[in-house]
């Protein structure tokens, strides 16, 4: 099926793009058998927070895995700027400036915190000492635990470490899969604060979130996915006002 041009491109909110836009056109992804994600199109612009929300099993995480090359896609395209990056394997995709932070297993448990951060610098020469120092200023918790194995960190600290590792390369696109899942409410605030801080620094941030109210409230643009297909899209706060939508697809949240 030839890729169709995107209909209804996200409205501009006046921000000046500094990096390339991530464009997903009619993507179909699955695990073999019936595709979990069908014909989904999204766009994540630099300097913006783009949220993907939807009920459990809507295919949100699967979509992200298709975008970052963890799962092979069977239809559609992924573009970074004008470059086609469809089905580029993860170890090459990171060299294009896309960082992916999975929901689970997002740190190397037996490696120390410092070594985890160094892995974020893997594609470069050297150990990224200066960048580690910068990120420790952003995530002060990490500085005191640099020598500890990552498996000894709390859930919140692990997420901070995973975020910091994803930021080591100063990515153009940061892809986050449920960064606040399973965390204590106070820690959720902290992690989410970092996500907004990261977005303000310039990269396109594409996030799948279970905490729908918060993510819609802060999303410059949001997509609602149901049954693996595009359902609705629009500026996050506007979608949040759509009471029917919230009730039907998202629940109390």
């Amino acid at each position: 099926m030839p890729p169709e041009p995107l209909r209804g491109s996200p409205g501009s909110n006046g921000s000046v793009p500094t990096g390339p836009t991530l464009t997903v056109e009619n993507l179909t992804v699955g695990y073999g058998g019936t595709p979990v994600v069908q014909d989904v199109s999204i766009r994540a612009k630099p300097g913006e927070l783009t949220a993907i929300v939807g009920p459990n099993g809507a295919g949100k995480s699967t979509l992200l895995k298709g975008i970052v090359g963890v799962l092979r896609t069977t239809g559609g395209r992924v573009l970074l700027g004008a470059d086609d990056i469809t089905n580029v394997v993860p170890e090459r995709l990171v060299r294009r400036g896309i960082s992916y932070v999975p929901q689970l297993s997002n740190v190397f448990p037996s490696l120390s915190v410092r070594e985890n951060l160094e892995m974020g610098w893997y594609i470069h020469h050297g150990d990224g000492k200066e960048r580690i120092d910068q990120l420790c200023s952003m995530f002060p918790d990490l500085r005191s635990s640099l020598r500890r194995p990552a498996r000894t960190l709390s859930g919140g600290q692990r997420m901070m470490l995973a975020l910091a590792r994803g930021l080591m390369l100063e990515p153009q696109v940061l892809v986050l899969d449920e960064p606040t899942a399973g965390l204590a409410p106070k820690v959720v605030d902290e992690v989410w604060g970092h996500v907004l801080e990261i977005k303000a620094a310039g990269p396109a941030v594409l996030v799948v979130e279970q905490n729908t109210r918060r993510s819609l409230g802060d999303a410059d643009w949001a997509y609602v996915l149901t049954n693996g297909r595009n359902n609705l899209e629009g500026p996050g706060p506007e979608l949040l006002e759509d009471k029917d939508l919230i009730q039907l697809y998202i629940g109390g949240g």
Partner: protein, 289 residues
């Protein structure tokens, strides 16, 4: 005390081979039943070179090269094609069993089934403190310590070593950080083969003569050491090797030496009964709490 001295020599050889296997297992997640053959080809390579020169370093290089080559080939020609087709761990294990017997039989075609003699270094014994060692015993222990220290530094300090540990922790996450996991795995097989090949040469030098089943006969001892230390734990493997090596040789002083290997399995059974996760895993878990 003599038994302890021999035990340290045996432990050195077991440690080299076990650490290599542990590293390979933790990075590649493949249980390789043909690990003994990496040792055997190392022994035969050293034996062939020894025919033309008594130069030990040259024999060692040949042993390491032969082991490394076999490790590389096993990965590329045998395991990877099946891993790519999502074969289960059991299938891969059975493949490695087949590989073990195929290699043994190929060696038998080439060298025959009877013992070949391999003499390395002089057999003059020296008294060192309470121990009695030959020059080759001392070389064996020094080589083992040097190789293990270099391996430790490689794994802890170098980028390759960190990538190996990252792949051991989580292949997918390692790939998303830019690690070419396939290359790391291939080089791990190479390293595993080189160290096991060297261990095979040292073992051959200890026993003096050997057949194509040299490494195979040692495989269960090495599995025992790996399990006693905590499977996939490199430092546990060193400790496990020390325990197994000492028990084997010290027991030989008191009971018939042909029970040596049975003693190793006795320890294995005891560890499995009381600390099934191995000694070192148990230690590190209590640290974490």
């Amino acid at each position: 005390m003599l038994g302890v001295g021999f035990g340290l020599v045996t432990a050195s050889i077991v440690a080299l081979s076990t650490v290599a296997m542990s590293l390979q297992f933790s990075v590649t997640r493949t249980i390789n039943f043909a690990h003994g053959e990496l040792m055997t080809v190392g022994a035969y390579a050293a034996y062939l070179v020894a025919k033309s020169t008594s130069d030990l370093p040259l024999q060692a290089v040949a042993a390491m090269a032969a082991g490394a080559a076999l490790g590389w080939v096993l990965n590329v020609a045998l395991f990877q094609p099946f891993v790519r087709r999502n074969a289960t761990k059991l299938v891969i294990f059975v493949l490695s069993v087949a590989a073990s017997f195929i290699i043994q039989n190929i060696l038998q075609i080439g060298f025959g089934g009877s013992y070949v003699d391999y003499q390395a270094g002089s057999t003059t014994a020296y008294n060192v403190g309470p121990f009695q060692w030959t020059a080759m015993d001392i070389v064996t222990m020094v080589v083992a310590v040097v190789v293990l220290v270099v391996l430790h530094l490689t794994i802890r300090r170098t980028k390759f070593g960190k990538a190996q540990r990252a792949v051991a922790d989580d292949v997918l996450l390692a790939r998303t950080t830019g690690v070419g996991a396939q290359r790391i795995i291939a080089f791990t097989w190479l390293l595993d083969g080189a160290i096991a090949g060297l261990a095979g040469m040292l073992l051959a030098a200890q026993v003096g003569s050997f057949t194509p089943t040299l490494g195979f006969g040692y495989l269960l001892v090495i599995f025992s050491a790996a399990i006693v230390g905590g499977i996939g734990q490199m430092y546990g493997a060193m400790l496990g090797a020390l325990v197994i090596g000492l028990v084997m040789e010290v027991s030989a002083v008191y009971v018939n030496p042909s029970y040596k290997e049975s003693m190793a399995f006795l320890i294995l059974v005891a560890v499995l009964l009381f600390r099934p996760q191995g000694i070192v895993t148990a230690l590190s878990e209590s640290n974490a709490q």
